[in-house]
């Protein structure tokens, strides 16, 4: 096998087919997955329970048959020309839900999500195992999404999905919003080996996430292996970067108890070279220099312990507690900042309850309660700053607020999510409720001591509740799927009117300003339909009316430069998506052919944006934007070993606000112009060769190259036609290449990975004047031992 098989395309027609039925009822198990991992081919049972897989040649294959709620079957089947094999699935007595199904059915689960009426792309975590890549690098190579980094590990980054950016894109881990005290929790902190798959929603977000948003969302689903395991990963990379991950799990089958623990520590100095200044013309030649990016370090550590009971009245009771802390330097970029930093802790106790037949048969119950306790500090006490030419100048801190800070900010949240799912034949009803309570207590005695009062803002409370109702219909043959969702949002908040006079200097105390209460309901609705026209070819259409509620920063301001905004309304978007997906095995001589394409239209109103408010700023509802675009994603397994992909996104994003003021006296000068600072055109492509058995039985080898192109885009409105001027505001195009290889050893218990990012060491930017790192080397060692070998190894095909 191995390399010899690489060019071989079979002439003979070899098929494995049969029927999959419930062992007890003898009824067909519609949608059950039949999968041959080695060849990466499979099929799902149709409405009669029938499946058919085309194979390259006769031989013995390990067939995995799985479906949610059933025990997975793994069986060797000898195939000779047309072979028929029936499988009898046995209902599982263990916990039955999507998360606990084993890796063998992961592909079926991913296929199931892809077939849903929503515009969604799924990245399979199995293919990433052992890679030295971060989640952001994976996401940015996916169609319709661009990750806009501002620096190395730990630096802020913006997700751009179909033109929606920043707060307009929700990020979840296992359905819970990714939360961090100061926004510093980097999605790249999540170890890539812990990912089961990543869902990228591009128009409608499923109601079960219970959250608001304009339709763009990323949900990282983490692995939950149902066996004893020990895992260790160590990665080193250029610029003082290292990542360590340890995970252990012990199962006690009889009492139904699982104990798990995890630890990660990520660190980077991010001290790469960059040019300063940039994007400027006609400066003295002596002004340009190459500098080292100092004070941009990042350290994060997380400890996680979990205890799960599976044999009480609830099918699953999970108690988990994570302790996270981080420290991060703040590099100003336009001078050489050396001291300012943030550090904080986040303790997240979590209780999860699940029961399949809750109260009555077929009613599934899930409840999740998280109570993050967050404590953060901004330390910015420097009274001098170092310019890039080495001169020292006076300053009041190194951050933009021109204040000396040593803040002590506390935040406490309660988030509860309830999900009830009832399945009645072809219909599934979902009721979701998410309650959020947030209490914020900012404090800065250090600033108060010299300013005379604490300018860090007033305490604030916010309560929000989202109720979602969804109905899903799936025809018996799975050809037709329909999803109708309705969400009701409730926002209750108390905001201090700090735009009033706030200080009585004669008493040197801060007078408490008046408080305004917000008590409002909003709604969102979506409808999606998907239909399989031919086997493996499916069309999708969806409409949605989405709502994004203002967040705490937008409502309360920052106490210094951003005022609280008492009457801020949510952002609204109306979206239309039209999609086509095609997934064919053994198609035109190719092992597998996958195509996904989407056309999308969004009209966003009441956009929340910063606006000048006398001498400060305020968030206001100002802006209408129209987004039209398309993405195209092609994945081809030329042979089971050779995989290639190409995806492309193009979008036209225009300002549709005609008048700036309500009385229509002030025309908006940017009406119908391209909205700046959003990448409009980008594509990615890559090639991978992977094989099993090259360096020993069961050992996996992989070599890959990825390329990513982003066309230049304006940082600011293009109002001037002078080419010299445009240069100052244009984020230049980038075309970057990454290559790497991986090899497993010791029966796939250990993997070694090596990767070079930005091979040609090109200067690149995804944010204005924020240079990204040049050529970066990464090396990674991964050890994984699973009690149940079917759970996988250090690498996966």
């Amino acid at each position: 096998m191995g390399i010899c098989c690489f060019p071989m395309i079979s002439w003979a027609q070899v098929f494995l087919s049969g029927r999959i039925v419930d062992k007890k009822t003898n009824e067909p198990v519609v949608g059950a997955s039949v999968y041959i991992r080695k060849n990466q081919v499979g099929d799902n049972a149709n409405d009669n329970g029938l499946y058919r897989i085309k194979l390259p040649q006769n031989g013995t294959y390990l067939v995995e048959v799985s479906f949610i709620g059933y025990k997975t079957i793994k069986q060797s089947v000898t195939v000779n020309r047309n072979t028929t094999k029936n499988f009898f699935l046995e209902e599982s007595t263990e916990v039955l839900n999507e998360v606990v199904v084993k890796a063998s059915s992961q592909q079926a689960e991913i296929n199931h999500i892809r077939k849903s009426p929503m515009a969604v792309t799924v990245v399979d975590g199995a293919k990433l195992r052992g890679r030295s890549t971060g989640i952001e690098e994976v996401l940015t190579r996916t169609s319709g999404i661009k990750v806009r980094k501002s620096g190395g590990l730990g630096s802020s980054s913006k997700m751009s999905i179909h033109g929606l950016e920043g707060k307009r894109v929700a990020i979840y881990i296992d359905g819970f919003p990714l939360n961090s005290p100061d926004g510093s929790f980097d999605i790249n902190d999540i170890p890539i080996d812990a990912i089961k798959y990543i869902e990228i929603y591009k128009g409608i977000v499923p109601a079960e996430y219970g959250s608001d948003g304009l339709g763009g969302a990323i949900n990282v689903v983490t692995r939950e292996d149902e066996c004893d395991l020990v895992g260790f990963t160590q990665e080193f990379a250029s610029f003082g970067t290292s990542k360590t991950l340890v995970s252990v799990k012990k199962m006690f089958e009889k009492p139904g108890i699982q104990i798990g623990g995890g630890f990660f520590h990520n660190k980077s100095d991010n001290n790469y070279k960059m040019t300063y200044p940039v994007f400027e013309t006609n400066l003295p030649s002596s002004a340009y220099q190459e500098v080292i990016r100092n004070n941009d370090y990042y350290r994060s550590t997380m400890y996680n312990v979990g205890l799960t009971f599976t044999k009480f009245w609830f099918d699953k009771i999970e108690l988990e507690c994570a302790f996270y802390n981080n420290k991060k330097g703040i590099q100003a970029l336009d001078f050489d900042s050396r001291f300012s930093h943030t550090h904080g802790t986040n303790i997240m106790p979590t209780l999860t309850l699940e029961k399949k037949n809750f109260l009555f048969k077929n009613l599934e119950f899930k409840s999740g309660l998280v109570t993050p306790i967050i404590h953060t500090h901004l330390v910015d006490t420097a009274r001098t700053k170092r310019q890039w030419d080495g001169t020292i100048t006076n300053t009041m801190g190194e951050t933009d607020d021109n204040l000396l800070n040593y803040s002590d900010d506390k935040q406490f949240e309660i988030r509860h999510k309830l999900n009830l799912k009832y399945k009645l034949k072809q219909h599934t009803f979902n009721l979701n409720n998410q309650f959020t309570y947030s209490r914020y207590r900012p404090k800065d005695d250090y600033t108060a001591e010299y300013v005379g009062f604490d300018p860090s803002g007033f305490p604030s409370n916010m309560k929000g509740n989202t109720l979602g109702l969804a109905h899903e219909y799936s025809s018996r043959n799975n050809k037709l799927q329909n999803s109708l969702m309705f969400s009701l949002y409730y926002l209750n908040s108390g905001i201090y009117r700090t735009s009033d006079k706030i200080v009585d200097e004669s008493e040197s105390v801060k007078k408490e300003p008046k408080k305004t209460k917000i008590n409002n309901f909003y709604y969102g609705i979506s409808e999606g339909i998907s239909y399989e026209f031919f086997k493996g070819v499916r069309g999708k259409f969806s409409l949605s009316h989405n709502v994004r509620l203002p967040d705490t920063e937008e409502l309360f301001g920052d106490g210094v430069t951003v005022k609280p905004s008492v009457d801020l309304n949510p952002e609204i978007s109306n979206n239309i998506n039209l999609g086509l997906i095609m997934d064919k095995s053994n198609f035109m001589g190719l092992s597998r052919f996958q195509l996904e394409t989407n056309l999308y239209y969004m009209y966003i109103t009441d956009m929340i944006s910063l606006f000048p408010a006398d001498i400060r700023m305020i968030y206001t509802n100002l802006g209408k934007t129209q987004i039209m675009g398309g993405d195209f994603d092609l994945k081809i397994d030329v042979t089971p070993q050779l995989y290639s992909y190409f995806n492309l996104t193009y979008q036209d994003i225009r300002d549709k606000l005609k008048w700036t003021t309500n009385d229509q006296s002030v025309k908006n000068p940017t009406y119908d112009k391209q909205v700046p600072n959003i990448p409009r055109f980008y594509f990615n492509y890559g090639l991978e060769y992977h094989t099993e058995g090259l360096l020993g039985k069961h050992e996996i080898s992989r070599i890959y190259i990825d390329a990513s192109y982003v066309h230049d885009f304006d940082w600011s409105w293009q109002m001037s036609n002078l080419p010299e001027q445009r240069k100052k505001w244009l984020i230049p195009r980038s075309h970057l290449f990454t290559a790497g290889f991986q090899q497993s050893i010791w029966k796939n218990k250990v993997s070694l990975g090596f990767e070079v990012e930005n091979i040609f060491n090109k200067e690149s930017y995804m944010e204005f004047k924020k240079p990204l790192q040049g050529r970066t080397f990464k090396i990674k060692l991964r050890f994984n031992w699973f009690g149940d070998e079917s759970s996988g190894g250090a690498m996966s095909l």
Binding site: P277, E280, T281, N282, L283, P284, A332, D334, F335, R383, K385, Q387, T391, T393, N394, T395, M396, D401, N402, L403, T447, Y450, V451, G452, P455, R497, S499, K501, I502, V503, D504, E505, S506, V560, T561, V566, F611, P612, A613, D614, I615, R616, I618, T661, N662, D663, S665, V666, K667, P669, T670, S716, W717, M719, S720, N721, L722, R726, K728, W729
Partner: protein
């Protein structure tokens, strides 16, 4: 070829001399000369361009230079200087064929220096007030090179607790002395009470003394807003902005330093906050945003009128900035017959007998004219693409 360029430049100089002598913002002949330089803001940028005269109907940003938002315009010796405050850069331009052509290389100032004001002493000497540094930079505007600096840290209120910056802002030169208004902040937008002005000898560039007056607060609004100015008698007036209406005990008002004196005139103080003003909602204004002196003790400027601020404030739609005539001799104010404008669109300059007001008012965004000699109004004479931010008459 070189000679031809020389002749052409001589011709250009000659033509500009002819047009300069006219001082007529409404010329009748077909000349190509540009009379105005202005900046408009769109999003996070300021767009600087020229326009010919007040006969123009519409301005465009198509041939404009692009700067970060807080960029200020200054003119001296036929050149236009742009001080890009947030980006800490100084640019020098000349006018050629209706376009702004950069002269010399861009001058780089220290990051965070927030240069906000430029005062010219001569062709070879000018002072830049660096609000963020607590220093004045001395430059040669001809060569665009820094020639020195004046450290003001010892004049900072709160220096005992480590505050080394008295926040120098707008300044003016009278009789060989540079008068620099100091904001004396405790923190951003939070001033120490009292008005502080530093006097510097322009021959030696040594500070002479800092004078103060506790009747008003903040002797500079960080950026250029039409003061300090010197009247025909040689008296120097300075407007203290209080705390932009935010702080109860920070009072605003005009103070005066009489000709021949170097201390505040204790007999003169003119606050507008305490005046009951008819014809405006609430009969109160709480501070003057910007102003232009036109002679005989008269100024024209924008007052912030809290009565026109919604509850809660609507910073997009509220037209709370109202044009006023101010008489600093008689201590009177008179509302002008223009509707109000928004806080994000209010520029002004004097052009001949006209006051040009850049406003986003009820009739649209652009320049509204007032002939102060004849007391005549011309509403929305020139429409602008973008929100008027700064304007200078080049004649």
């Amino acid at each position: 070829m070189k000679n031809q360029w020389f002749l052409l430049s001589l011709l250009a100089t000659f033509l500009s001399f002819i047009s300069c002598s006219k001082d007529d913002p409404f010329p009748t002949d077909e000349e190509d000369d540009m009379s105005f330089v202005h900046s408009v803001t769109v999003g996070d940028n300021a767009y600087v361009s020229l326009f010919k005269d007040l006969n123009v109907e519409q301005t465009s940003t198509q041939n404009s230079l692009v700067f970060a938002k807080e960029s200020f315009l200054f003119t001296y010796g036929g050149n236009i200087y742009v001080l890009e405050s947030m980006n800490a850069r100084l640019y020098k331009y000349r006018v050629e064929n209706g376009l702004l052509i950069q002269e010399k290389e861009t001058m780089i100032l220290p990051s965070g220096s927030l240069p906000a004001f430029l005062t010219f002493d001569s062709e070879e000497k000018a002072y830049i007030s660096c609000v963020g540094l607590g220093k004045l930079y001395i430059i040669n505007p001809t060569t665009m090179q820094k020639t020195g600096e004046i450290d003001l840290s010892e004049y900072a209120i709160g220096k005992e607790s480590g505050d080394k910056n008295p926040e120098p802002g707008a300044s003016v030169i009278r009789d060989g002395i540079l008068y620099v208004g100091l904001a004396q902040d405790k923190s951003q937008f939070n001033p120490n009470t009292g008005a502080y002005v530093l006097l510097i000898d322009t021959k030696t560039d040594k500070p002479i003394k800092m004078i103060s007056d506790n009747r008003a607060t903040m002797a500079t609004a960080y950026e250029y807003s039409g003061d300090p100015f010197i009247d025909e008698k040689g008296d120097l007036y300075i407007y203290c902005v209080g705390g932009f209406g935010y702080f109860a005990n920070c009072t605003e008002g005009f103070l005066r330093i009489k000709k021949g004196e170097t201390d505040f005139d204790q007999s003169y103080y003119f606050p507008i906050e305490t005046i009951s003003i008819p014809d405006i909602k609430g009969n109160k204004a709480n501070y003057i945003y910007s102003k232009t002196y036109t002679g005989n003790g008269k100024l024209y400027g924008y007052f912030n009128v809290p009565g026109y601020v919604s509850n809660p404030p609507d910073y997009v739609n509220d037209k709370s900035m109202q044009t006023f005539e101010i008489d600093v001799y008689n201590k009177t104010v008179k509302k002008m017959n223009f509707d109000g404008t928004t806080g994000w669109s209010c520029s002004q300059c004097k052009a001949g007998d006209y006051m040009v007001f850049g406003m986003a008012s009820t009739q649209g965004t652009g320049y509204y004219l007032y002939n102060y000699k004849e007391d005549k109004y011309e509403p929305l004479k020139i429409k602008t693409e973008g929100n008027p931010f700064k304007i200078q008459y080049l004649k």
